[in-house]
Every structure is written in structure tokens, then in C-alpha cells.
């Protein structure tokens, strides 16, 4: 059932599984081939399968056990696992290191990078580091403002924004150039580049135009903010199709299973989230709220699968990672496809 | 009309204790046995159109109010600047108030609103420097309210009597200096 690519020679120690990451046997991808990187997620999408990605939130400590545990549970029910990067500006074990742990546990890490904490020098350096450790997926984000986090007094960087980051990462891969224009003489980092989009952000009419900008900049896949308002998402996807963007980028619909109506009510307060009241009523009326939450998510997966232009789902179950296998199974998405 | 000293008992207590200053800002002066009764010095900035006219009316009606009020006529309460309110206190006033027209009836339309905001701002400053914002107030009345004028004067006087003399009255400062000098001398003697 495991769809891991060629097994890497294991090396004892903390950085297990990363030696030989760039070997040809692993299929690191070339500018000429159909697959540009060594990413499993890329293969799944380019081969035309409906993809499943999920999320792991690193801890606020140096402990890596839970990360490996979650990776162990999620690796066979998804094509990639996102490692968040100081989410909501709270200091956590960094995405790069967490990605290395996921890889060691047999998973397919999707690294995240925010523009808030690092300047272009640090970002490029981290990308080189990630690539050298066998990480092939990178999502470029702006990042929540640090006033949301536990270090509101920090100086925020924002040297470049997410769109400029996408351009930069693609240029490192396809033009073999650093942002300053210098050549990367050998072993350029080959990342499968993703970005985020919020179908519910304002101004609504501008969202698709901004998505087009991300695609022009070079985004290859998009993970959306979690969807509860199906109607609005359908409207959004129609605008996406009208702009021809569904043919240019893989869009993964973001979904989060809710544990209770209280959880849904809280999500209504998060900026950028839209939760219809009917959903809250439905949850409130349910006896087994967790089971209802799973049911709702499964229904959503089935619904978005029907929408033309949706290439997969991104299941964000932070603090409830254990429920993902059940959701993916009930949605009829197992087994995950085998790819070269 | 003479003023009643409400804190006679307290004063005796404090006098025994050596005349230390109390939290409300009163000095050792009024509490030292044999000192003259505390006669507040209150400055009232009164606008020509309403408050000052009311003061005139109070006079014509022979209404009694404490002789503690020094009235300063201004063309509009809005002419009163925070600087002159502070200066009044700096020069030793125990209390200050600004009296203007009723809200909505200011002869210059918004002058009394400006005065109100400035009085609020200076009250805050007075709290921050340890003088106390209660020593400053804003009142509104019309030209026909002679009785109200007398009432305000009386109320403010009572308030200031309770708060005690300003800690920076020249006499208070002098007395404190003398007390400090005496204490030092006492210390020298005991060494």
C-alpha cells in the first residue's frame, strides 16, 4: 500500500533517510522530464489522480516523536504532509526540521515558508538546505501577522511577499539562478512549488486575479483555506475556470473536520473564514458530534470532487491527525495511487 | 459666611504626630495648633455671556456665598487654555473652576465644549503630578442662574476645604522647609 518512491539508504542518527536524496534513482526530476522534481505529490497530480494532502503541526519544543508518529499514521493515506511554519506566529519546531523527521518516518513532507520571519538570503539558504535533505515540496506563504502570536514585539521581516517568493523558488529551479541573478553552478534545488489561496477573502472579485498572479509567478499547486461555505467555493471555482486557471495549476480544496459546534463557532471568528449557520445548527443537533464532524467532512470531499477544476483535497486536522485515515477511507480515496 | 473646619479632630491627631502631610495633599500648616483656619483660594474663570452675568445677578440678589472665589472674566470659556489653569495652581490656588454657558447655548457655539475637553485633560495632568484632579472642575450655567452661581461657589469651597490647602502654597512650602530645617538641627544635636 505504501507508495513511497525508491527507498533511500538509511543512515543511523537523527538525519536518517536523507543521504542519497538527490540520486537519479530517486528521480530528482529534470527540466526536460514530465516530472520537474523528486516529489511524490507532483507525480500523483501530473498523472491525473485526485490528490490528498494533510497537515502536521510541529511542537513548541525540540521533541520529534509526535511528528514521526503522525507521519507514520498519515503516510499511507495521503500524498503529502504539510509541516506548518510558525503557524499564527507562535514559535514552533521549524518546518524544515519537521520535514526531515517526516521523511525519516517514510512520509512525503511538504515544507512551508513564510515571508514574515526570513529575508531572501535566509529563505534561499533554507531552500538549499531542504533540497540537500531530500525535501521536494515547498508552499510559499505571506504568514499571519506576528501580533497573533506569542512574540508580538518581534521585528517582522517581509523582505519579499509570497508571490515574489514563488518567482524566486521557480527561478532557482528552472533558471538555476539565485534571486540576485548569480548562477547556481551545480545541484540547483528542485522544489514543487505551492501557494495558498483564500476563496473567502476580500475583495472577492479580486481573489481570482490574484490567483492568476500566483500562477504567472510560477505556483504549481494551490491549497485553499478551509471551506465550509460550499456555495461560495463553487462561485470561486467558476471564476477560476472562466479565467482558465484550472488548466494551469492544481487546486486542492482545504477542509477541516470540526469536533463540535463550539469549534465551528470559534472558526467563524477567525479572519478569512466563512462558516454557514446551518452547519453550526446541524452540529448542535447531532448526538455524536465527532462522528457528525467526520460525516460533514466526507460529504464535503465528495462534493468538491464533483467540481471541475478541483485536483484534490488538503485535509487540515491539526490536533486531530488520527482522524484523517478514517475520513480518507470513508471518502473512498483509499488506496493512494502507486506512482513511479 | 465663615467656613467650618471639618477635620478638627483629625487635625489634633496629626498635630500630635508632628504635622506630617496627609495623602490628600494637606500640609502641616493647617494642622499645626494655633494656625489660622484654612481659607481656600479658588480661581473661577467665568465667561462674559453666562457665568459672569450670573455672578452679577447673584450680587444683585444679595445671595451669600463664600469669600473664597476670585472671579476672572473671559470672553468665552473656550478662551481658557490649559496653561493658565496650571499657572493658577502653580501660583498657589487651592482650587480652580471654569464656568461657561449651558451646553448647546455657547455664544460662540462650541467654546464650552473645548473648555470641557481641556478641563478633562488638565485634571489628568493634576492627578499625574500629585495635586489631584478634583481641585479642578467645569460647570455650566445660564445668565439667569444667579442662585446656581452661588451654589457652585459654595460646593467648590466645601470640596476644597475637604481636600485641604494646596501642598504648594507659598506658606506651606515655607513651613515645610522650616520643619525640615528643625528636624535636621534636631538630628545634629542628638549625634
Amino acid at each position: 500500500m505504501s507508495a513511497a518512491i525508491a527507498a533511500e539508504p538509511k543512515v543511523a542518527g537523527a538525519a536518517a533517510g536523507v543521504a542519497g536524496a538527490r540520486s537519479a534513482a530517486e528521480g530528482a526530476g529534470t527540466p526536460e522530464s514530465k516530472y520537474k522534481t523528486g516529489s511524490r505529490l507532483e507525480r500523483v497530480l501530473r498523472d491525473g489522480h485526485f490528490a490528498v494532502t494533510c497537515e502536521i503541526g510541529p511542537p513548541q519544543s525540540a521533541k520529534s516523536e509526535k511528528i514521526r508518529e503522525h507521519a507514520g499514521v498519515l503516510k499511507d493515506v495521503s500524498d503529502g504532509q504539510n509541516l506548518t511554519d510558525n503557524q499564527t506566529a507562535i514559535v514552533r519546531l521549524c518546518s524544515l526540521a519537521a520535514a526531515v523527521h517526516v521523511k525519516a518516518a517514510g512520509g512525503e513532507p511538504i515544507m512551508q515558508m513564510t515571508a514574515r520571519d526570513r529575508n531572501r538570503i535566509a529563505i534561499q539558504a533554507d531552500i538549499l538546505g531542504a533540497a540537500s535533505l531530500g525535501i521536494h515540496n515547498l508552499v510559499c506563504l505571506g504568514g499571519d501577522h506576528q501580533t497573533f502570536g506569542n512574540h508580538p514585539g518581534a521585528r517582522n521581516v517581509h523582505d519579499i511577499d509570497s508571490i515574489q517568493m514563488i518567482q524566486m523558488v521557480r527561478a532557482m529551479r528552472d533558471e538555476r539562478k539565485f534571486q540576485c541573478g548569480d548562477e547556481i553552478k551545480t545541484d540547483e534545488p528542485r522544489m514543487f512549488v505551492g501557494a495558498a489561496e483564500n476563496p473567502f477573502g476580500d475583495p472577492f472579485e479580486f481573489r481570482v486575479r490574484r490567483l492568476a498572479k500566483k500562477v504567472t509567478a510560477g505556483a504549481e499547486f494551490i491549497q485553499t483555506q478551509c471551506i465550509f461555505d460550499l456555495k461560495r467555493f463553487e462561485e470561486f471555482m467558476k471564476m477560476v475556470r472562466d479565467a482558465g486557471l484550472d488548466e494551469k495549476v492544481y487546486i486542492l480544496a482545504g477542509l477541516t473536520p470540526a469536533k463540535s459546534d463550539k469549534a465551528l463557532k470559534y472558526m467563524q471568528t477567525v479572519p478569512g473564514m466563512k462558516v454557514p449557520d446551518e452547519l453550526i445548527k446541524r452540529m448542535a443537533g447531532a448526538e455524536d458530534k465527532k462522528a457528525e464532524g467526520v460525516k460533514i467532512t466526507v460529504e464535503m470531499i465528495q462534493a468538491v470532487r464533483e467540481i471541475k477544476g478541483v485536483a484534490g483535497v488538503h485535509v487540515m486536522a491539526i490536533a486531530w491527525e488520527s482522524i484523517v485515515p478514517e475520513i480518507v477511507e470513508k471518502a473512498g480515496l483509499l488506496p493512494r495511487p502507486r506512482v513511479a | 459666611m465663615t467656613t467650618q473646619k471639618p477635620e478638627t479632630a483629625k487635625a489634633a491627631e496629626v498635630a500630635v504626630g508632628g504635622g506630617a502631610a496627609n495623602a490628600a495633599g494637606a500640609t502641616g500648616l493647617a494642622n499645626v495648633a494655633g494656625a489660622p483656619e484654612f481659607m481656600p483660594k479658588i480661581v473661577a474663570f467665568c465667561c462674559y455671556y453666562c457665568a459672569y452675568s450670573a455672578a452679577d445677578l447673584a450680587g444683585s440678589l444679595r445671595l451669600q456665598y463664600p469669600p473664597t472665589i476670585r472671579v476672572i472674566e473671559v470672553p468665552c470659556s473656550g478662551k481658557v487654555d490649559p496653561v493658565i489653569l496650571l499657572r493658577a495652581f502653580e501660583e498657589g490656588a487651592d482650587g480652580v473652576y471654569v464656568a461657561g454657558c449651558m451646553e448647546g447655548d455657547c455664544h460662540f457655539l462650541k467654546g464650552n465644549f473645548r473648555a470641557k475637553k481641556r478641563v478633562q485633560a488638565v485634571k489628568k495632568i493634576l492627578d499625574q503630578i500629585g495635586l489631584g484632579g478634583q481641585r479642578l472642575e467645569m460647570f455650566n450655567l445660564s445668565a439667569a442662574m444667579g442662585t446656581r452661581f452661588a451654589e457652585i461657589a459654595t460646593d467648590m469651597t466645601r470640596r476644597i476645604e475637604e481636600l485641604g490647602p494646596s501642598p504648594i502654597r507659598p506658606e506651606a512650602l515655607a513651613a515645610r522647609k522650616a520643619a525640615a530645617g528643625a528636624k535636621e538641627q534636631g538630628e545634629v544635636k542628638t549625634r
Partner: protein, 223 residues
Amino acid sequence: MIVAEPKPIAEVAGLIKAAKHVLVVGCGECVTVCQAGGEKEVEILASALRILWKIEGKDGTIGTQTIVRQCEPEYVVELAKKLKNADCVLSLGCGVGVQFIAEAYLDKWVVPGLNTKFAGGTVKAGIWEERCGFCGDCVLHLTGGICPIIRCSKSILNGPCGGSQEGHCEVNKEISCAWQLIYDRLKGLGKLDLLDVIQPAKNWQTSRDGGPRKFVKEEAMIE
């Protein structure tokens, strides 16, 4: 103009604690407009501090002087006379003014009475808002006259971010989303296509990131 806010009186009192003869210096330009350090504010503060010193039983003098502007040596020299007997200068100028005074009178202890905040303008009487990010390479022609560097909390050049909601910035509802404003403005001007262009990564060398800056105009230099 430069907008500054008065420091709390308690803090200012602490700064001048060790002094005996203080000169409170005001500035006739920006801080007069934002009512933080003009002649009036100088007199108010000086009076308040004198009362405070009297209550504390502290001996000393607090004098005042307001000059045309503190960021110009030719006016700063006018302070010399009153400074002769002063051992402390409490400047109510913006950070620039404080520094020019300190530089001109090396033997005097110069302290700031204001917290200099930003470059902005009057939105309404009593309300001043930040407008310019001092990036050194103005791009206001690309955004319909709204600065993305400083009015966007994340200095995004290809905005908005996902946190923009109903015209508000995700940081707090009182902040308008700059990119919503830019979008509306350009829409009204019929220039929305400006937003389809990807703005490249900014060269921040012209901003404070490149180090302290200087502007020289040769023909204005008289020797």
C-alpha cells in the same frame, strides 16, 4: 510631517530627576501641528513639572524656549543664552530635534520628552495617521497613491493577503486593508490592470536597511 506623542509625565519626571536647572525646548514645526511639542505644550509641561518639583520639595528651575525648528543648527544656536545655566535640556522636538540639540551642546544632558512615531498627516482635527514608509524608492504611482510599504501591515507589494476581511487588516479592525483601498482606488480610476503586473522583490537598500541615509544638493552648498 513627523508625528510624535508626549511621553507620560511620570517618565519625563524620571528623566530630569537628577537635574537642577532644566530648559524645556519646543519646536515650531511638525510637533506644533500635532500638538505634542509646540510652544503651548512646552508651557503646559513646564508648569506641570514645576508643580511636581514643588510638591516633592525639590529645588531647581524649569525654564522654557521654543525655536522655529530644532532640526536646523541656525535656530539651535539661539538656545545658547538660556542654556548657559542649565544642566539639562528636555527637548520636545521629534527624535531629529533632540539629536541636533545634543550635537550642538555636547556638555549638556539632553533628554527626549516625546516618543516620535511616524510620518503622517492630519486626518481630522486631533487625529493623525501614518502614511509614508520612507522606503526611498516611491511606488505610489503603481498603487493609486496609497503606500503599500507602510499602510499594509506586511509591506506586501502584490496584495492583498488572505487575511483581508471587509476592508480591514487582520491585525485589527481599526486598520484599513491597504490593498482593499488600493483596489478600490484603481478601480475608480479604471487602472485595475496595474494590479495584474507582478511587482518584483524590492531593493531595500534605499530604505533604512541600507544604513543611515543622506541627501546632498550640490548647488545648495554654500561654502
